[in-house]
C-alpha cells in the first residue's frame, strides 16, 4: 500500500534498466524501501541493474519484458500483480534513436513507434486493469517535452511521446474514480545513457532530478509534471508560436 506520506511498498519498473528508473529507486531506497520488480530484457544490463538495486539493500526480482512483444504483456503484468499489489508502476522504457535516420529508415521509424507508443499503450491498458482491481496504485509514465509540441528536429520520437502522453492523460481521467492515479512526467533534456554523447540542451537536468519529481508526483498525486518545473512556462509559450516562425526556431 501507499501510505499517508505517499510512500509505496512495492514498485514495478517497466524498462528496468533505465537510468531514470534506477535513480527513482535510489531515492525510495533512502526512505520507504519498497519491494522492486525490474521488467527488462535479459542480459548483462539487467544483471547489472539487479545487482545495483540489491546494493541499495532492496528486495528485488527481475522478469522478462520486451516492449515490442505486446502479446506477452497481459500475462506478465497480471502475474506480477498476482504475487503482491503493484503500488507504483513506472513506465520507463523508451528509445530515442537517430533523428534523421528515424524518418528515413522504415524499420527504425516503426521500431520507435512500436516501443514508445504501442508498447506504452499496451502496458498502460493492463496496468489500469490490475490497478482498478486492486482499488489503488500509481502509474508513472515518462513522456517528454518533445511530445508537447512536436518539432522538426526529432519528430518521430516527439510524435510517439505525444501519442503516449495523450493516452496516459486520458487514462488518468478514466481510472481516477477507481482509486488509480496516473502521473505523466515530461522531462526536458536528461543526462542519461539515452542522451550520452549529445550536447546538453538548455535547462538540462540529471536523472536524480527527474527521480525527485517522480517521488513527489506519487506523494502528492500530481497528474502532470515538468522537469525542471520552469519548462512548463517555456513549452506553453512555444505551443502558441505560429508555424512559420516555429519552423525557423533552432529547436
Amino acid at each position: 500500500m501507499i501510505n499517508s506520506l505517499g510512500q509505496p511498498q512495492s514498485v514495478l519498473v517497466l524498462g528496468g534498466t533505465s537510468d531514470i528508473g534506477m535513480a527513482t529507486l535510489r531515492a525510495w531506497s533512502r526512505t520507504c524501501r519498497p519491494y522492486v520488480v525490474l521488467a527488462a530484457r535479459p542480459g548483462p544490463r539487467r544483471d547489472h541493474a539487479l545487482a545495483e538495486v540489491r546494493g541499495l539493500g532492496l528486495e528485488v526480482e527481475a522478469v522478462d519484458f520486451d516492449a515490442e512483444d505486446t502479446d506477452a504483456h497481459p500475462d506478465l503484468i497480471r502475474s506480477v500483480a498476482g504475487q503482491r499489489d503493484i503500488d507504483v508502476a513506472l513506465v520507463a522504457f523508451g528509445l530515442l534513436g537517430d533523428e534523421e535516420r528515424a524518418w528515413q529508415d522504415h524499420a527504425a521509424a516503426v521500431e520507435l513507434a512500436r516501443v514508445n507508443y504501442v508498447g506504452a499503450v499496451s502496458v498502460g491498458v493492463v496496468l489500469a486493469e490490475v490497478m482498478q482491481q486492486q482499488g489503488h496504485g500509481s502509474i508513472v509514465v515518462l513522456s517528454s517535452v518533445a511530445g508537447e509540441r512536436v518539432r522538426r528536429s526529432n519528430f518521430v520520437y516527439g510524435s510517439t511521446k505525444a501519442g503516449m502522453d495523450g493516452f496516459y492523460l486520458g487514462l488518468g481521467e478514466a481510472v481516477r474514480d477507481a482509486g488509480v492515479h496516473v502521473a505523466v512526467v515530461r522531462p526536458g533534456f536528461v543526462r542519461t545513457r539515452m542522451t550520452e554523447g549529445r550536447e546538453a540542451a538548455p535547462l538540462a537536468v540529471d536523472a536524480d532530478d527527474v527521480a525527485a519529481a517522480i517521488v513527489r508526483a506519487v506523494a502528492e498525486r500530481r497528474e502532470l509534471v515538468w522537469v525542471p518545473g520552469p519548462l512548463r512556462a517555456v513549452m506553453s509559450g512555444l505551443r502558441h508560436v505560429p508555424r512559420p516562425l516555429f519552423r525557423r526556431l533552432p529547436l
Binding site: S4, L5, G6, Q133, Q134, H136, D177, G179, A219
Partner: protein, 446 residues
C-alpha cells in the same frame, strides 16, 4: 446495494476504492461469505485517521441506522453496532445514563469504538471501552453470528476488542452504562507552566477525578516546554446546577450548526498561525478555575462543534501521531516532546493523558503510562521524523495507536504489540482464508 467508492480516513490521505455495501443485518452473512479475493472489512463513521476502515479493491460494509434497548434496571444497553455515540448519548442522557467511555468525538459508531478499543478522559479510572462490553455479536468469516464476551470465547472476544475489524463484523453489543443526573459537567481548569508541573499534577491528583486530560502546547520550547492546560471534571448532579437556571439539566449534544467551508486558502496550518493560536489559547486559559459548568458536548467533544473541521488541513490531508510510553518513562516522554518542539512542525494543541492499566486485548492500545496525540499536516519530511519518534517510543516499551496510524513501518508492529502472535493465532482459527482484510492489515502485514 453496492456502490464503488473512494474512501479515506479522517486524515484524508491515501484514498482507495472499494465496493461499499449497505444491507440489512440478515443479508450480511452472504456479503461476507461472497466477498472475493480482496475480502471485506466493516466501516463505522470513518473517524480513524488512517486506512483502518478502507479495503482497496475489496468490500467495505457501511454502518446501518441504529437501534438500542435500554435495560435501566441492570444499567446496560443492547445497541446495534452502527449506532453512533452521538445518537446514543441523545437517547441515554434524558434517561439518566451516559456511555461508559467516550472518545474526543461523538461521531463514532459502537462497532468502530469497540474495534479500536477506544479510551476516554476516564481511562485512568475505568480503562478502555472493552472493559465495559458485557458481550457482543460477531459475524465471522464462515457467515455465522457468534455471541462472544469475557465469559464466552474469551480469546475471540479480546482479539475483537482492539482488533480493527479483522476478526469479523460486530453487529451489536451490550455495554455497561454510567448513571448520570444531568447532561452537564462540573469542570476544574488550571494552567501549568511546564512539563514537570503537568506530569506531577496529573500523577498526584488525577485519581480524585473521573475525567482528566491536558492540552499541551507542543511548540513551546525551553523553560516553557510542555506548558499545558489541565481540565478535569465530573458529571454534574442536579444539586450542582441548583443555583444557575441557565444550565439546564436535560441538555443533550446537538449536531454542529457550522461547517468548515470546502474551499479554504492553502497552507492555513503553518508554523506562524499555529504559534499564534497556541499562544493565544494558553494565555486565555485561567490560571485556575474550579466548578465551572460545561455541557457534555463542550467538555468531551469541542471539535465536533465544527463539521468537517479536518478540511482545514487542505488537499494534502494530515495525520495524527498518538503514542503511549509506560509509566516511569517520563524521561522518554520528555525526550520525545523535546524532539517535537525542536522540529517545530505546525501542530495545534496536542492532548496529553495519563492512562491506567491496559486490558487483555492483544492489539489494544492503552497501557499504564503517558499518551500524547499530535495532529500534523502531511509532508515528505515527516517520514524520517516520525520514524525517529517510533524508535524512542519502542525503546521505552511503548507503542503507537493503530486507529490513528497511516505510515508506520510494519517491522515495528511486533515490538509495539508483543502479543501480536496471539492475535494472529485467533485470526488463523476463526478466519483461516483471510476474508477480513483492510488497507491497514495489508500495509502492516497484520
Amino acid at each position: 446495494m453496492s456502490e464503488r467508492r473512494l474512501l479515506t480516513g479522517w486524515g484524508g490521505t491515501a484514498p482507495t476504492a472499494a465496493s461499499t455495501v449497505s444491507v440489512a443485518a440478515a443479508d450480511l452473512p452472504r456479503v461476507v461469505t461472497g466477498s472475493g479475493g480482496r475480502g471485506v472489512i466493516a466501516r463505522g463513521l470513518g473517524r480513524s485517521y488512517g486506512d483502518a476502515a478502507q479495503n482497496a479493491g475489496g468490500t467495505v460494509v457501511l454502518p446501518l441506522p441504529g437501534w438500542y434497548e435500554l435495560d435501566a434496571g441492570r444499567g446496560t444497553v443492547r445497541v446495534s453496532a452502527g449506532t453512533s455515540f452521538h445518537d446514543l448519548m441523545r437517547e441515554l442522557i434524558p434517561r439518566g445514563f451516559f456511555v461508559p467511555v467516550t472518545p474526543g468525538t461523538r461521531y463514532v459508531t459502537v462497532g468502530g469504538a469497540i474495534a479500536a478499543d477506544v479510551h476516554g478522559k476516564n481511562h485512568h479510572r475505568v480503562g478502555a471501552l472493552g472493559g465495559q462490553v458485557v458481550e457482543l455479536e460477531l459475524l465471522g468469516a464462515d457467515g455465522t453470528v457468534r455471541t462472544v464476551g469475557p465469559g464466552r470465547d474469551l480469546d475471540l472476544f479480546w482479539a475483537t476488542v482492539g482488533g480493527m475489524g479483522l476478526t469479523g463484523v460486530i453487529t451489536s453489543a451490550v455495554l455497561r452504562l454510567l448513571p448520570v443526573e444531568t447532561g452537564q459537567m462540573v469542570v476544574d481548569t488550571e494552567r501549568l507552566d511546564d512539563l514537570d508541573a503537568v506530569l506531577t499534577r496529573m500523577a498526584e491528583s488525577d485519581d480524585a477525578f473521573t475525567y482528566s486530560v491536558a492540552w499541551i502546547d507542543t511548540l513551546a520550547r525551553g523553560r516553557s516546554m510542555g506548558r499545558s492546560v489541565l481540565t478535569r471534571g465530573e458529571h454534574a448532579r442536579r444539586e450542582d446546577l441548583a443555583g444557575s437556571p441557565r444550565h439546564r439539566a436535560d441538555v443533550v449534544p446537538h449536531d454542529a450548526r457550522v461547517a468548515m467551508p470546502s474551499l479554504l486558502p492553502p497552507h492555513l496550518i503553518s508554523r506562524p498561525t499555529t504559534l499564534a493560536f497556541n499562544e493565544m489559547w494558553f494565555r486565555k486559559a485561567p490560571r485556575r478555575r474550579e466548578g465551572q459548568v460545561q455541557t457534555v458536548a463542550a467538555f468531551f467533544h469541542p471539535l465536533d462543534g465544527v463539521r468537517h473541521w479536518n478540511r482545514v488541513y487542505g488537499r494534502g490531508g494530515f495525520l495524527q501521531y498518538q503514542f503511549v510510553v509506560p509509566e516511569n518513562e517520563d524521561e522518554a516522554l520528555r525526550r520525545i516532546l523535546g524532539r517535537i518542539s525542536r522540529a517545530g512542525y505546525p501542530s495545534f494543541l496536542a492532548v496529553l493523558k495519563r492512562f491506567g492499566p491496559g486490558d487483555p486485548g492483544p492489539l489494544s492500545f492503552p497501557m499504564a503510562g503517558w499518551t500524547l496525540a499530535i495532529d500534523l499536516p502531511t509532508s515528505p519530511t515527516l517520514r524520517g521524523f516520525l520514524a525517529d519518534l517510533d524508535g524512542l517510543v519502542v525503546a521505552s516499551g511503548g507503542r503507537v495507536y493503530l486507529a490513528k496510524d497511516s505510515r508506520m513501518e510494519p517491522g515495528l508492529l511486533a515490538e509495539m504489540y508483543p502479543r501480536l502472535d496471539e492475535f494472529r493465532a485467533v485470526r488463523a482459527r476463526v478466519d483461516p482464508g483471510g476474508v477480513f482484510q483492510s488497507d491497514l492489515s495489508r500495509r502492516l502485514h497484520l
